[in-house]
Symmetry: C2
Subunit: 112 residues, 2 copies
């Protein structure tokens, strides 16, 4: 079972429908029906997706009368990005330049 937080976050993001829901929520809060509207899947399916997102901390929910509104909580995305940042030097050109620069400094240090 994926019990750790990061696994929950990445697993939640691994589904295109859920990513689309997050994209929609970036424009503002929305009810379940509103979120379901663009998709050709049933309301219960959407309901489950929202539960997954909530469990990963990617959304929070509030109740007003019979409507349940979802709100984006991007903090987990920060966590995920932070994890990936360990690998930034493997792809980021500017990071590579910084790397080279630091190496040069190091060499000067050693040769002095």
């Amino acid at each position: 079972m994926a019990t750790d937080r990061l696994s929950l976050i990445f697993a939640a993001l691994a589904d295109p429908t859920r990513r689309a829901i997050l994209a929609r929520l970036a424009e503002g809060e929305a009810t379940v029906s509103e979120l379901a509207e663009p998709f050709a899947i049933s309301l219960p399916a959407i309901s489950r997706h929202l539960k997954v997102l909530e469990h990963a901390g990617l959304i929070s929910r509030s109740r007003t009368a019979q409507w349940r509104s979802s709100r984006l909580e991007a903090e987990p995305l920060r966590e995920a990005t932070e994890w990936m940042d360990r690998y930034r030097r493997f792809w980021d050109e500017s990071f590579r330049r910084l790397d080279a620069h630091l190496r040069r400094l190091q060499e000067n240090e050693e040769s002095s």
Copy 2:
């Protein structure tokens, strides 16, 4: 089936063992047995994890004699980070400051 690239990447990252493998590969290439060593799971299980990582583009593999060496390919992490960057303004303080700054500029523009 998760057929799109981003889903493959996030799904690959959703497993702690696979993330640990990537962490190990950040220190340099390694063979399957070397990668398996820290884990209490069988070699075939590791072999499958590597296949998942390769399918997501997160590693590439080469063969030397009977050894298969894996190498980190972080480009997919860049893609994933890029996707998350759309949400950066929802968590990043400096992004919020920039946002506020731009809004101020906008207001000055309008009132002139």
